[in-house]
């Protein structure tokens, strides 16, 4: 009865679920639910950021050595890719809102491609780490082959297992972030197909907005990860980065 009373007001007879008074209340409720979920996500990543802060505080010089093994160029490019994917996602939400099916599909597709590119570059970085033996617990043989660097560390009183701690945290943080990217790519792909079939541009655009919130949060996590992981040793634009 309630929804019937309000249906003429919001013009969405059938789209407002029966427990809500009107479209506006439904939209706010869905947004609020997603933000609560995002709060739990912030807490989950927050634990890792805390572990990072604590160990960096204890082992700052070793963390700088660890960071110098990463390729800041790839990190910068990936940051650009992810920021750009956030722009295309924001455009997707906009186009869902104004009911432009073709542009919505294009924006979602572009977001998917950019997200996949990010993961591809990340996979290349991990592969390089594996090849030189910088993955703790999997292949940690870097210092077996670089005795001179081990000696340099000893002179500066830096323990190799403290450098290892940097990489443990590096793989936990970028790994959890990558899991979120993979889940995001799955949903973006599914939504692209649904959008192609005409869903979301029939007035029910909010699922795209909710997906956008998730995508932007994953972007936010990377915005913090990039300077904390890649740039702590200072970067040197005229030397080649990486290993």
């Amino acid at each position: 009865m309630v929804s019937e009373t309000h249906a003429p007001v919001d013009g969405h007879h059938g789209l407002v679920q029966h427990q809500f008074d009107d479209m506006e209340q439904q939209r706010e409720c869905f947004s609020l639910g997603m933000w609560l979920f995002l709060a739990t996500e912030v807490m989950m990543f927050g634990g890792l950021f805390f572990a990072y802060s604590l160990y960096r505080w204890q082992f700052e010089p070793a963390f700088q050595v660890g960071s110098s093994h990463l390729d800041w160029k790839l990190g910068t490019f990936n940051t650009f890719v992810l920021l750009f994917s956030s722009l295309t996602m924001a455009m997707a939400v906009h186009n869902a809102g104004i009911g432009n099916r073709q542009k919505l599909v294009n924006c979602l597709l572009l977001t998917w491609v950019l997200g996949a590119a990010f993961l591809g570059i990340k996979a290349m970085e991990w592969k390089a780490d594996f090849n030189v033996g910088l993955i703790p617990g999997v292949n940690w043989t870097y210092y077996d082959h670089h005795a001179e660097e081990l000696k340099a560390l000893a002179e500066k009183n830096i323990m190799p297992h403290h450098v290892m701690m940097y990489f443990v945290i590096y793989f936990c943080m970028t790994g959890l972030h990558a899991i979120h990217m993979i889940i995001g790519l799955g949903i973006v792909g599914y939504f692209t197909w649904l959008a192609y079939r005409g869903k979301f541009t029939d007035g029910n655009d909010q699922p795209v907005e909710i997906l956008g919130l998730y995508w932007h949060l994953v972007d936010i996590v990377w915005v913090f990860l990039f300077p904390l992981l890649y740039l702590i040793a200072g970067f040197h634009p005229f030397q080649s980065g990486g290993h």
């Binding site: 007001v9 919001d10 912030v42 927050g46 920021l83 104004i98 936010i220 913090f224 740039l231 200072g234």
Partner: protein, 131 residues
Amino acid sequence: MAKRAATTGKAAPAVAASTHGHGHGHGNSEGHGGHHGISPATYWKVFAGLIALLILTLFVAMFDLGPLNVAVAMIVAVAKVGLILTFFMHLKISTKLVRFCSLAAFFWLAILFVLTLSDYASRGWLPQSGK
């Protein structure tokens, strides 16, 4: 529709036309244009801002400022996140309840950091046996 167009500024024609197109009513949200209130032009400007801040991060990392490096990097990161939250994540046009809830996440994070770090930082301050 005319009243809407007058209140939403630059993006008004597109928003008004589209709103007319599929008939979204926004009840009392007229003042800020509801969930379509941020225009693509604004998104592009925000993106340009994010890239400028990324370049700033790199620029600052080129210099050895001691402990200031991480402070500047975090300030720039917070500025970027502020842009993403405000515009891409629509907090600018969200209700007060949603804004409050989004702040709660960072409030809990602050509790985690402040309480736990104050423990670690203050160890050994008191001359107790067992420490």
